[in-house]
């Protein structure tokens, strides 16, 4: 097919391997956006990714960049180690909500507080996907999971943790926004945010995180299409989309 006809094709920053994600899982969308951004910025050959423990444990199979695989929750610490010795490389972590907001809470908060020049892609799908849909720190009140079978009872199981709001209070955080992957418009906005988060890093403007409201059709027990509706109707009210922190220097970035 003539290249002048081409409107969109699979990013070259992706490897040829099909993902292991369930059909309709928006992890794949988030991966694709990161790949597109790395490619557009021309930094694929100087990027080192840090994969988490959780559904994205195999993220290293899909990006055509160097990759390391962190212990559960420790990706920001590993990324710190890499970035400190190789400050001219692009270093990102890709973490789910169990990884980042539960077991890795200490690592993410302090990476942000130190203003580490790393980019964090945070997938919030309100449950532990890889282990079969247990309650996560982001599980909505009343939401049924395999470890909150009667619905999350906030009296005994606490309330969801809002990471973007929390991290935006830290001086070291340069860029911290929440986006959603539930429709084409929001996916476009998410991509722009991811681009800004990487631009923040290459300009040395501090810690950058993009929280992405995502789906988990399999563990939610919904079709992929209904999962997107669930994000729109239930997750966005609990986790409002928005720019939680954009430092003045980052506001000047033109994409």
């Amino acid at each position: 097919m003539a290249t002048e006809n081409l409107v969109y094709e699979r990013p070259e920053a992706f490897t040829e391997m099909p993902t292991h994600y369930c059909p309709g899982c928006t992890h794949g969308v988030a991966h694709r956006l990161v790949a597109e951004v790395l490619e557009e910025m021309g930094v694929v050959n100087k990027t080192i990714g840090v994969a988490p423990v959780g559904c994205a444990v195999f993220a290293y199979n899909y990006f055509d960049t160097d990759f390391v695989e962190a212990p559960h929750g420790r990706a920001p610490a590993m990324a710190t180690g890499i970035k400190r010795v190789l400050p001219d490389r692009v270093v990102f972590t890709y973490q789910g909500d169990g990884d980042l907001a539960s077991i890795g809470m200490g690592e993410i908060v302090h990476a942000a507080a130190r203003g580490e020049n790393i980019t964090v892609i945070f997938i919030n799908n309100a449950n532990y996907g890889m282990t079969g849909g247990q309650m996560a720190p982001t599980t909505l009140p009343g939401m049924k999971t395999t470890s909150s079978p009667n619905g999350r009872d906030v009296e005994t199981q606490g309330y969801p943790i809002k990471m973007s709001e929390m991290l935006s209070t830290l001086e070291g955080t340069g860029y911290c926004v929440r986006r959603s992957l539930h429709d084409p418009k929001n996916i476009r906005l998410a991509k722009k945010a991811i681009r800004t988060a990487f631009e923040t890093q290459v300009r040395g403007l501090g810690f950058a995180m993009v929280e992405l409201l995502s789906t988990c059709p399999t563990n939610w027990g919904m079709t992929p299409v209904n999962s997107l509706k669930f994000v729109e109707e239930h997750m966005i009210p609990a986790f409002p989309l928005g720019d939680y922190k954009i430092s003045d220097a980052i506001k000047q970035i033109k994409i």
Binding site: V7, P184, V225
Partner: protein, 80 residues
């Protein structure tokens, strides 16, 4: 006249999740129930005319399975 486009859906990547089908503004996509991918999914395809090459299907596709093309519109010289 509407812009004419077309897509190619990769059997390697498509998992038949139907997100593209519900997102397609032209309503020209469906699962191809007559075919199975090597992984056993019915892949998405366009089943009638009307694709404009808007790429919304590709934007929502979690598996980067869709390549989008669009007919090039040649600029018609305006008569002087």
């Amino acid at each position: 006249m509407a812009v004419k486009g077309w897509i190619e859906v990769s059997d390697t990547y498509c998992k038949g999740c139907e997100l593209c089908i519900s997102a397609c503004p032209q309503g020209v996509m469906e699962l191809d129930m007559a075919r199975l991918t090597p992984k056993g999914y019915h892949p998405a395809h366009t089943f009638k005319e009307g694709c404009t090459g808007c790429a919304i299907c590709a934007i929502v596709c979690p598996d980067a399975a869709i390549t989008v093309f669009r007919e090039t519109t040649k600029a018609v010289p305006v008569p002087a």
